[in-house]
């Protein structure tokens, strides 16, 4: 009985195609070929095709300077900044499913996220990812500086980079308020208090009292840049919704746009820098 079964199994195996044959059948089938318009990328032609025919990979050039792709040169920090940004986008969207930006719900939604959502660590991934991104962007800037990669023709891409750095910090800052706990509220209070002192635009800033028409001060506590930022005199519910929209919509769109320009410029400026 057992012997018979064994023989049968052997027979089935003998008849069935080898793994190679299966691979071949898939790779040459219509479905596969409609997605990947090239064979396995182990020949020069197919390697070129692999990069050119894939919308994501074609952020890259087909070939790159050997010195430029080394880890010891770029530290992969620009790439990691981008990876973390993608990560934050995905976990951020997941968080948006659970979070309502109102003073009534915000805090308790975060509590619920921790207490009731299975595998609820996307808040952790999002928060630590954000911290890591700040560090990665600093380090990326550091390596670009230390390799002199801002020198012509890459000056402008450095400028874009500086804006990206500011944007990264703004993303972290606006996000910091959203848990709506004491930590959040007071860190943002400390940070936004500065705006009151903006020259000419904050009512406690130098020059603001000069901006008046017929003795009426135009820049006052209810009309200055601090008020515009917070939507009130203090960090309040109006601030929460402002920061939420900035954090989830406005700043990420600006960031993504600038990153597209940044990557495009890396290529237009002749790829990753190297000695002449």
């Amino acid at each position: 009985m057992l012997d018979k079964l064994k023989k049968k199994i052997d027979e089935i195996f003998a008849q069935s195609p080898s793994p190679e044959a299966v691979k071949k059948a898939i790779a040459e089938g219509q479905v596969w070929k409609s997605i990947f318009r090239h064979g396995y990328p182990d020949t020069p032609r197919n390697r070129v095709m692999a990069v050119l025919s894939n919308v994501f990979l074609h952020l890259h050039p087909v070939k790159a300077r050997h010195s430029g792709v080394k880890m010891s040169y770029t530290w992969c920090m620009g790439g990691l900044s981008f990876f973390l940004f993608l990560n934050l986008t995905v976990t951020g969207i997941l968080l948006m499913f659970y979070y309502r930006p109102t003073a009534e719900y915000a805090y308790y939604d975060i509590v619920a996220l921790r207490e009731h959502v299975p595998l609820g660590i996307m808040r952790e991934i999002h928060r630590w990812g954000a911290h890591a991104m700040v560090i990665a962007v600093w380090l990326h800037m550091f390596r670009v500086f230390m390799t002199g990669s801002y020198k012509p023709p890459r000056e402008f891409n450095w400028v874009i980079g500086v804006i990206l750095l500011v944007i990264t910090l703004l993303l972290s800052f606006t996000g910091y308020l959203l848990p709506w706990d004491q930590l959040a509220m007071w860190a943002i209070t400390v940070g936004t208090n500065m705006a009151r002192a903006t020259p000419f635009m904050g009512y406690e800033g130098p020059g603001a009292s000069m901006i008046q028409i017929g003795g009426v001060h135009l820049v006052n506590g209810g009309s200055d840049i601090h008020f515009a930022l917070l939507g009130g005199h203090f960090v309040s519910e109006a601030t929460l919704i402002r920061f939420y929209v900035l954090h989830c919509v406005v700043v990420p769109i600006v960031a993504a746009t600038l990153m597209a320009i940044h990557f495009w410029r890396v290529r237009k400026d002749g790829g990753i820098s190297g000695p002449l």
Binding site: P41, R47, H60, K63, A64, R65, H66, G68, V69, M71, Y73, W75, C76, G79, N87, A103, Y108, E124, I125, R127, W128, G129, H131, A132, I135, W138, F142, R143, F145, M146, T147, G148, S149, Y150, K151, P152, W158, V159, V162, L169, F173, Y176, Q182, L183, M185, W186, A187, T189, N193, M194, A197, P199, G202, E204, G205, P206, G207, M210, G274, P275
Partner: protein
């Protein structure tokens, strides 16, 4: 043990902390050949780890602050900045040796060769992604994101701190008013960073690590990054307690610590203490000395320095007046922070120009 901790707390003051970091910075530049040796660097690493373990074990206070979830990334920051500083200096030192012998930098050996992005780059990116993803996942599994009590305007925590990456800016508030520390200086940092490629016209050192060929660019940049940014973050996190008072790293935060504030404005120094006249009532007249000082610093000092220092003269000739003017202005703005710090420590100077009537204090 607590004698050691107390001694460290006693020695560390804002001024000595700053002094030590400047000395460390100088030593880092000066002895780069030595500490970039891997064997030596490993010793430094053990030293740093040892110092932290020591602090964690013997100081409850330090342990408490260090293990606040939002402070944990500071260690990642400090160690990664340390490691990458080593990596860039190491490669720079090796290249400088090659260049001194008339050889091209090491990057040159492979820079003319082109490799296929698939697989040579894609696999590096893939591995980096996986490693970063796993690290992030483990970190997230092990450390909960902080969540304190629900926000309430009724109770202000003391100290109120910004997120750690802004603590360098918050620290500036000790020395300058918010319009400068919170608005003007950050703007100048951003503008200054953007201006770097247009100011640094040195054609050498593009596309490889080097120190010798770019000293004049690297030293100021790293001074800003390390001394005026990273170390201030560390100070703001570990040594600023209630009332933003300074505490040693192992000193308990005493809510009732009273620091005598006897800071004095420049106008009072001159009109009252030196001239013995008393403060004039017109504030423009009252602050005349401050205006003169600031005016001299920004307008008089640049030509003077340029005349006296041959190196600057050379720069002026190379760069042209406009670029050079911007460079000097940015330098002086950057130097304004340490200068005010030192003045505060030495003569308790509060404001150089003090016109609180219109919120114009420098």
């Amino acid at each position: 043990m607590h004698y050691i901790l107390d001694a460290i707390d006693f020695v560390l003051q804002p001024w000595s902390y700053f002094l030590f970091s400047v000395i460390a910075f100088w030593a880092m530049i000066k002895y780069r050949e030595k500490w970039t040796e891997p064997a030596f660097a490993v010793k430094l690493l053990w030293g740093a780890i040892g110092a932290i373990v020591f602090s964690m074990v013997y100081s409850v206070h330090f342990r408490e602050i260090a293990s606040l979830p939002d402070n944990v990334p500071i260690f990642l920051m400090v160690f990664s900045v340390g490691f990458f500083t080593w990596l860039s200096f190491r490669q720079g030192v090796l290249n400088d040796r090659r260049i001194a012998q008339g050889q091209p930098p090491i990057e040159k050996e492979t820079s003319d060769k082109k490799v296929y992005v698939w697989p040579d780059l894609v696999y590096i990116e893939f591995i980096a992604t996986v490693v970063a993803g796993v690290v992030l996942l483990i970190w997230s599994l092990c450390l909960h994101a902080p969540l304190e009590q629900a926000a309430t305007p009724a109770w202000t925590p003391n100290p109120s701190k910004a997120p750690w990456y802004f603590l360098g800016l918050q620290e500036m508030l000790v020395y300058y008013d918010p319009w400068l520390a919170g608005v003007v200086f950050p703007t100048l940092i951003i503008v200054g960073l953007m201006a770097i490629p247009y100011i640094d016209k040195n054609p050498k050192g593009a596309g490889y690590y080097t120190f010798n060929e770019r000293k004049l660019a690297i030293i100021p940049f790293l001074f800003g990054f390390f001394i005026l940014w990273v170390t201030l973050i560390f100070l703001g996190t570990f040594m600023r307690g209630p009332g933003w008072n300074f505490f040693g790293p192992y000193e308990n935060w005493d809510l009732h610590k009273v620091v005598v504030l006897n800071n004095v404005n420049l106008s009072e120094y001159i009109w009252v203490r030196i001239l013995g006249i008393g403060l004039p009532s017109n504030f423009l007249l009252r602050e005349i000395w401050g205006f003169l000082a600031v005016g001299f610093y920004l307008i008089g000092l640049p030509p003077l320095l340029t005349k006296k220092i041959p190196l600057l003269q050379e720069l002026l000739e190379k760069m042209g007046v406009v670029r050079y003017g911007i460079l000097i202005f940015l330098f002086l703005s950057m130097a304004a922070l340490p200068i005010k710090m030192v003045l505060r420590w030495l003569i308790n100077l509060k404001y150089i120009v003090a016109i609180p009537e219109i919120f114009f204090n420098i």
